[in-house]
């Protein structure tokens, strides 16, 4: 299976601090990969490096959009990366609080539509058709993540779990081939987590997605992912199937502390 994301030797320095230390990893087509590690291990920094928010100090990040050659995105801006087909959610929800759920998802369509200044002013048939398409697509995505009845609600008034789903719908609106989820289950109760798990697996199938997710909920990680990558102090310490990784002594040490070598 071909790799849709391959990262080699990525390091990130903040002043004197090395937040990521030459990390290699791959996400293959159709895979769900989980990125785990203790707090402060550099997981979100890694996301920021591959989505263009930070420029990695060293290393290369390649993506291979469907039907295209692989592209180095190390020096691309975040919006260009999204344009290539990587979409993400945020650990601390970043919706547009005063816009409705529908409008939030409509913003996601921005990079797949083109109407400019002239189109806006003249509002010819092409623009009108495009606008109609944006609204329809946005609503159908909301329905897909189970938020149809929230469509006209302002994002800030939505319940927490719904906001997390809305972020996913918004990311999907950019037509990604690789979806990056940053702690999607954080703050959810067990039932919500269950629903989320079902949603993630369903979306993968329906949109032919590859998914890379950061998650602390081990139950979810173990049941949903095909492969797990473990980082600690900015370094990759293990990689493999959930079963392999959970048996890895180094991983156990990282999670449980020194005395667990028994």
């Amino acid at each position: 299976m071909r790799a849709v994301l391959s990262v080699s030797g990525v390091s990130m320095d903040f002043g004197g601090l090395r937040a990521l230390d030459s990390v290699d990893m791959e996400v293959r087509e159709g895979e769900i990969v989980a990125l785990i590690g203790p707090n402060g291990a550099g997981k979100t920094t890694f996301f920021n490096c591959i989505t263009g928010i930070y420029a990695p100090t060293e290393g290369e990040v390649f993506v291979s959009p469907p039907g295209r050659d692989r592209i180095n995105i190390r020096h691309r801006k975040p919006n260009q990366v999204t344009g290539l087909g990587l979409a993400r959610t945020f650990q601390n929800i970043r919706l547009f609080p005063s816009m409705t759920a529908l409008e939030n998802v409509m913003i996601g369509r921005h990079c797949r539509t083109r109407a400019g200044l002239l189109g806006a002013i003249v509002r010819g048939p092409v623009t009108r058709r495009e606008e109609k398409g944006i609204v329809e697509r946005a609503y159908s995505l909301l329905v897909k993540v189970g938020l149809g009845r929230w469509a006209n609600e302002v994002a800030r008034n939505m319940p927490y779990g719904a906001q997390r789903r809305l972020e996913i719908a918004r990311a999907l609106a950019t037509d990604p081939f690789l979806l990056l989820l940053d702690e999607p289950a954080a703050g959810m109760n067990p039932q919500e987590t269950q629903d989320l798990k079902a949603l993630v697996t369903r979306l993968r199938k329906e949109f032919e997605l590859s998914i890379l997710l950061i998650e602390h909920d081990m139950k979810m990680v173990m049941s949903v992912s095909d492969r797990v990558v473990v980082v600690e102090y900015g370094k990759k310490i293990a990689e493999g199937t959930p079963a392999e990784v959970s048996a890895d002594p180094q991983v156990i040490k990282a999670y449980l502390g020194e005395e667990s070598d028994a």
Binding site: T44, N48, I53, Y54, F90
Partner: protein, 312 residues
């Protein structure tokens, strides 16, 4: 050669004044992240207060140096009062508002104060008496360094050293630094943040007043509008040095003061090497603005500031 030296010194004098005003910008910005647009008007009010004092005491027979000292003190006291009042009225209620609100409020304050002085005093340029006495010992080099130049340099250096010591060594100075670092934390540790902010405005305004009285006496005339340009340039100086940084404001002022003489210096230089390119001196204000734009684009953290890291 002597001409260039003369230009350099003239630049340093003006730069010293910019530094004095820039300190107010930088201190306020350091603590509440506000560009106090009306700070230039405080400087102008300082000059006018000095004018009133000089006018009242002019016939009293006091030596000019004595009048100068009284004018400086009165300017500092009243400007500190204006500064605190301005903060209480126009900025304090907006501390939780969006970033643009206090800035617009500050612009309003600036227009208000300008017109207040215009209405209370006059719209014309008024001659300002020479309050700085002539020193005999400077006569041999007076074309390079006049007595008012010397006084400005000495006073502003003393003030800057004093301020640095105050911030480094005293309890209040420490409280100011702590508040600048993290306002919430400072509050939790029992620092009266409101008091610190008032103090910052008082000190900043008093420094501007010193600048106002000195430059008025140096240039010999003032009007209600002098604060606008001086304020803008001092702000440029603060940004140049790295806004929030006190040594930065001092350095930025001096660099800007000298840089402003570039049109004259360049014109003279071109003449010296036989080129006929004359740059009008009126472009000296444009130099400051160009410098400001260039710094903000290429090194927004200024000469002595630290770059910020984007947090996600």
């Amino acid at each position: 050669m002597e001409f260039y030296l003369e230009m350099l010194i003239a630049g340093l004098i003006r730069g010293a004044i910019y530094s004095l005003i820039a300190l107010g910008y930088t201190m306020v910005y350091g603590i509440i992240e506000l560009i106090n647009f009306a700070h230039g008007e405080i400087y102008m009010i300082g000059a006018f207060t000095g004018l009133v004092v000089a006018g009242l005491l002019g016939a009293s027979g006091l030596p000019t140096l004595g009048i100068l000292v009284i004018a400086l003190v009165a300017g500092m006291v009243f400007c500190a009062g204006y500064g605190v009042t301005m903060e209480k009225v126009a900025y304090k209620p907006l501390r939780k508002a969006s970033r643009l609100s206090p800035l617009i409020s500050a612009i309003g304050m600036s227009i208000f104060l300008q017109n207040y002085v215009l209405l209370a005093q006059t719209s014309d340029f008024v001659p300002f008496p020479r309050l700085i006495p002539e020193f005999k010992f400077l006569e041999p080099i007076s074309h390079l360094l006049g007595s008012s130049d010397l006084v400005i340099l000495v006073v502003s250096s003393l003030v800057m050293v004093g301020l640095t010591l105050f911030i480094r060594l005293t309890r209040l100075g420490k409280a100011m630094r702590a508040t600048a670092q993290n306002q919430k934390m400072a509050m939790l540790l029992g620092i009266d943040v409101n008091q610190v902010i008032s103090l910052t405005f008082m000190i900043g305004s008093a420094l501007a007043a010193i600048g106002g009285v000195l430059i008025a006496s140096h240039s010999g005339q003032i009007n209600f509008y002098i604060g606008f340009l001086a304020g803008l340039k001092a702000f440029t100086a603060a940004v140049l040095g790295g806004i929030g940084s006190i040594p930065g404001a001092m350095l930025g002022g001096l660099v800007l003061g000298v840089a402003e003489n570039l049109p004259i210096i360049l014109s003279a230089f071109f003449a010296d090497i036989g080129l006929n390119i004359d740059i009008p001196n009126d472009y000296k204000d444009a130099v400051a603005f160009c410098l400001l734009i260039l710094i903000l684009i290429f090194r927004p953290s200024g000469l002595l500031g630290r770059p910020a890291i984007k947090k996600v």
